[in-house]
Amino acid sequence: MVGTRDDGFTAYVVGRRAHLYRAAYLLCGDPHRAEDIVQNALAKLYVAWPRASRADSVDAYVRRVIVNSHLDETRRPWRREAPTTDDRLDRPAPVGVTPEDSDALWSALRKLGPKQRRVVVLRHYWGLSVEETAADLGVSPGTVKSQTSAALDKLRSVLLADATPRGGRR
């Protein structure tokens, strides 16, 4: 029983952990918090593995845990403190995210509220439909649409500015 649980869970972690981490990173924008969220989600998944694997909805379960964990994290008092950037600190060179990717889109994404950001991530990174997103978040499709619209309005200027020089991809 334990061996079955461990085998299935390990196979899932090997195949999906990087994807989960990236999604968490897009949600929170912090590598350490992203790792915390993923660890928490996978620990919960291990407990619920028999149920989640039987329902064939492991991804959906983990998605919900990640999104809710991120939302819970933002509600914790110590998360309300916004760290300030201090240029005098010795910082390592950015790895992975290229300078051109760390552009205005990334900045605009981080300026979104948590609920709008999770809608953007679920719909445009995870590729879910409005209904799937609504089911994942436990809200109505109308809420998903309105939050998507509001989020994209804020990203519009960035997207249009970036899209126009590339040949009018509208």
Binding site: D6, F9, T10, V13, V14, R17, A18, Y21, R22, A23, Y25, L26, P31, E35, Q39, L42, A43, K44, L45, Y46, V47, W49, V95, G96, V97, T98, D101, L105, W106, V120, V121, H124, Y125, G127, S149, L152, D153, L155, R156, L159, L160, D162, A163, R169, R170
Partner: protein, 514 residues
């Protein structure tokens, strides 16, 4: 936003995510964290279940012995539970019907009273016959000639019974239980061996000095000493059980003045009590011999080496021995301890267990001492001499005194009358100072003064309020005794009382090395 912008956003998001460096975490780490979380959850659930079970069993235990508990009468109870599990095995019933249980603490025992026989008793006695029992009762009669052994499957009777069985099945169940026990009843009724109720016999006598005193161990030691004299074979005297055997202590200002217990003496179905009280002095024991109001039959046993006082009343025999250090040991053999009065008064202990000689030998055992730094009582004052000296000192010519009570504390009480028709209550007494007999001005005193009577000796004088009896009170707190004279008549002369209370005769001192 257009579809192009949507696609562009998706491409940019994926491009952004691909650039995120993913930390390398072995999957085993996630498995380990998951296992720990799973273990925590299971432990929490087990704890919550145990707690809930404990609460339910506690409530059941509290209501099991209450005849007014809200329980559905058997006639209206629907037998919906089939005895598929062997919860009512004959062995359980045998345990339930064990006679002669004199466990006085059984009602307070949460294990035995709630989860053990109490619960089973309530279920077996109060519940109506279950469906299996009802069905098996006529079946056993019908198939008695064909199926005499266990394990024969139940055969459907060809005709339904015409009358409803009215009584409980009297025989043992004929069919084996078909189901396996699903619960873990041993977790509920197994006694905890780590919490013995019987205090193990100590190997050393009670500690003296400032050593920490363990009362239960001392009482167990007393029990062993008594057993050596009264019941060497332990045929009747039970070991000290701190949950059952009542103990008695007298403390003041952190000091232990008296310690005792009543042990069980079982003989067949009879239960007697063997009580011991080790006290610092006579003032700490209830001993009525020598008092005018005593209804005990008292006599003295003096063997030359041991002087004991014996008191007998209604079959209860008490022996008191004053040891060399002033401590008093009282051993009481009470054959009517359980209140049933089933025994002849002298037969409760059997053999020589409760005999006078054995009790004297036990009470005079030098190992029976108060533990710790025991307070030391002064030597006793002979009550008769104290009474006669008081009469001679306090009364004048022509006055008469009628003594109404005398006890061995000592205290004398009576009424005096003068030639001119005056009179009132006159009382004089002496109380040991070591146990708190010193003077204190009470609220019932109208006024308290200190009077110097010469040689630096002072006495306390108090005038009592009318509602407290009026009169005056003179007291002298000496090194051993606080001697007091009280008169209800304020006109009674006080100066003889000053001289009486300050007499050196009333301040005996005990040798440092008895």
């Amino acid at each position: 936003m257009t579809d192009g912008a949507d696609r562009f956003l998706e491409e940019r998001l994926h491009s952004l995510a691909r650039g995120v460096p993913v930390p390398v975490v072995p999957p085993g780490e996630d498995v380990r964290r998951g296992r720990r979380r799973l273990l925590r959850m299971r432990l929490a659930m087990a704890g919550a279940t145990t707690g809930t079970l404990a609460v339910v069993l506690g409530i059941t235990g509290l209501t099991a012995g209450d005849p007014k508990a809200t329980e559905v009468p058997p006639s209206t109870q629907v037998p919906t539970v089939l005895p598929a599990t062997p919860s009512a095995t004959p062995s359980d019933k045998g345990q339930e019907a064990t006679p002669g249980s004199h466990d006085r603490g059984g009602g307070d025992d949460p294990v035995g009273g709630a989860a053990g026989p109490g619960t089973d008793r309530g279920a077996d006695a109060g519940a109506p016959p279950s469906l299996d029992q009802v069905k098996n009762a006529p079946t056993a009669e019908v198939s008695a000639g064909t199926a005499q052994h266990h394990g024969v499957p139940w055969v459907e009777p060809t005709s339904a019974p015409t009358s409803t069985p009215s009584g409980l099945p009297s025989g043992d169940p004929t069919g084996d239980p078909t189901g396996l026990p699903s619960g873990t009843p041993t977790d509920l009724v197994t006694p905890t061996p780590t919490d013995p109720t019987t205090v193990p016999p100590p190997t050393e006598p009670p500690p003296t000095g400032d050593t920490k005193v363990r009362i239960d161990r001392v009482l167990a030691y007393y029990n062993d000493v008594l057993a050596e004299h009264l019941d060497p074979d332990r045929a009747g005297l039970q070991p000290y059980d701190r949950r059952i055997d009542p103990k008695a202590t007298r403390r003041s200002d952190g000091q232990l003045f008296a310690l005792g217990a009543t042990y069980r003496w079982e003989r067949g179905r009879a239960l007697s009590g063997l009580e011991i009280m080790v006290a610092s002095g006579w003032d700490q024991v209830d001993w009525d011999c020598g008092a005018t109001y005593s209804d005990w039959s008292c006599h003295v046993v003096d063997s030359g080496t041991v002087r004991a006082e014996v008191a007998i009343h209604d079959g209860v025999r008490r022996v008191a021995v004053e040891h060399a250090d002033g401590q008093v040991v009282v051993v009481t053999a009470d054959p009517t301890y359980d209140g049933s009065h089933r025994l002849a008064t002298s037969d409760g202990f059997g053999g020589s267990g409760g005999s006078e000689a054995a009790l004297v030998a036990a009470a005079s055992d030098a190992r029976l001492i108060l533990p710790g730094r025991a307070p030391q009582a002064p030597p006793t004052i002979a009550s008769d001499a104290f009474a006669s000296a008081g009469r001679a000192a306090l009364l004048s010519r022509g006055e008469t005194f009628t003594q109404t009570s005398l006890d061995r504390s000592p205290a004398v009480r009576g009424t005096w009358s003068g030639a001119a028709g005056a009179g009132g209550t006159l009382r004089w007494s002496a109380r040991p100072v070591y146990s708190g007999g010193g003077f204190s001005c009470l609220v019932t005193y109208l006024r308290c003064t200190t009077v110097a009577v010469g040689d630096g000796t002072t006495v306390d004088v108090a005038l009592l309020r009318t509602k407290a009896g009026g009169g005056w009170l003179v007291q002298y707190d000496g090194p051993s005794y606080a001697v007091r004279v009280y008169s209800s008549d304020r006109t009674f002369p006080r100066k003889p009382a000053y001289a009486f209370v300050t007499r050196a005769d009333w301040q005996p001192a005990r040798d440092a090395t008895p």
